[in-house]
Symmetry: C2
Subunit: 274 residues, 2 copies
């Protein structure tokens, strides 16, 4: 891992209080991490290291890590879970996909189902979509009154602050792909028979609202990148680069958390196994 | 995979309606699967194949697989999850560990929390311990009236029949280790500082009740190995043999389920991605 991951992290981070300037941000990121072989090696190393740290996190059982993945259709949320967390396996990592809310969920406030899915102490939880849909699709499609949506940014910040003050580190990644890259990925779902089942005609409707979604993303990046839970905008046109950068940031975060095996308060000689 | 997996499956299976004869069953199983290299190769192949089939299960989204892991302390339930399902990653596999019931859970019938954790369509769910604790620890420790426990075997059979009739295939594995093997594994938790945190003095109390637990296991094997959800007693003194056998059975089961990518009802040319 010879790369300057700190510089990469800084480049993708949305500085709290500053404008995110989404339109100026890289979808490709070739300068950021040019060498594919280096990236793939680093991903491998990071995935292993994440697995080791996850074991310590579980042993310590006092904190949790929440990884929020957001991005438009085909941006690679599932692929990121596979690429970054498969080494850990299902034991210490739980994945929650947030789809269209059920009737029961709609009968509660929008953070209700989200709070219920927050990883428990010792776990890494991954959100495939999240409460941010409530300021994305809800805004673009007008699923809630404007005033209510306007209030949500601060509510979300307060919610995430609450989590971070209660032992849950929150990492937020926007998987940023270009409109052309999405076109290719959707087209591939049409062209390859084994991918047909992934194609959803509704995705084309959302694609027509590309600019509106980008604007809604920009607003949430501007307003919800905080000290306790900053946003990172990940160049995601190249899957290998996306995975390597996210793995490096997850790894670095876990290293900073530095979970430790609990020190036992007894001596091994206190016990005899008969 | 040159081995006769069908014969291995038959050997570990508890024939519905017959006595399980737990005491006569192998903890080592050297004859069953002698060659470690063959076993490890097979495990690798099976783990990969399970991953592929899991993807089809998810695409099909009409059925689920529930894998129940039972076994006394140190029998290797976590290790089995890692060994067999890590290839799948956390995306299509959810793991639920059933510990001591909470107050809320105790305020409901004992299957309430179990039913809530049944994997949804498209998923593989793994139970680390399960409703069988309610005829194990509950019985040995007298946590429920005898009459009530006596009724549970039929209730559990009815519950599992219900699941199997509603698209959930139920696979049940008892990880069968010898008393000597447990001694070594507990001792290791005392001897190796990095394993100290796993040691629980309560495990020694349970170890004193070894015979009672074995008897309770034998009863549940006798009474709850059914056509729709038979028990398998897996020789688990050797981890590599345990993982290989379980992976082979999970793989064979998924192959029989034969999940398929949905056939779409439109033509790729119906759509244009603009």
């Amino acid at each position: 891992m010879t790369h300057d991951w700190k510089a990469i992290d800084e480049a993708v981070r949305v500085e709290p209080g500053k404008k995110s300037k989404l339109r100026a941000r890289e979808c490709v990121g070739a300068d950021l991490l040019p060498d594919r072989e280096v990236a793939e090696g680093a991903l491998k190393d990071c995935a292993k290291a994440i697995d080791v740290l996850q074991d310590r996190l579980w042993a310590e059982r006092s904190r949790a890590l929440l990884v929020v993945l957001q991005g438009i259709d085909t941006s690679g949320k599932d692929g990121t879970v596979r690429g970054v967390f498969n080494q850990c396996g299902p034991l210490g990592v739980s994945v929650t996909a947030f789809g269209k809310p059920t009737e029961e969920e709609l009968a509660h406030d929008y953070l209700w189902r989200v709070h219920a899915a927050v990883p428990k102490k010792g776990m890494i939880g991954v959100f495939n979509r999240s409460h941010y849909e409530d300021v994305l699709v809800a805004k673009v499609r007008g699923l809630a009154p404007k005033d209510a949506i306007e209030q949500r940014y601060d509510q979300i910040n307060a919610f995430e602050k609450h989590l971070s003050e209660n032992g849950v580190t929150v990492l937020k990644f926007m998987l940023h792909i270009s409109k052309e890259e999405q076109r290719q990925r959707l087209q591939e779902r049409l062209d390859k028979p084994e991918k047909n089942w992934k194609f959803n005609a509704g995705d084309l409707e959302d694609r027509k609202l590309w600019d509106e979604y980008q604007a809604a993303y920009e607003t949430l990046l501007d307003r919800c990148s905080t000290e306790h839970a900053p946003w990172r905008v990940i160049p995601a046109d190249k899957k290998w680069r996306r995975n390597a950068i996210i793995a490096a940031i997850v790894h670095g975060t876990l290293e900073e958390m530095n979970p430790r095996y609990p020190v036992v308060e007894w001596k091994p000689t206190d016990y005899v196994v008969e």
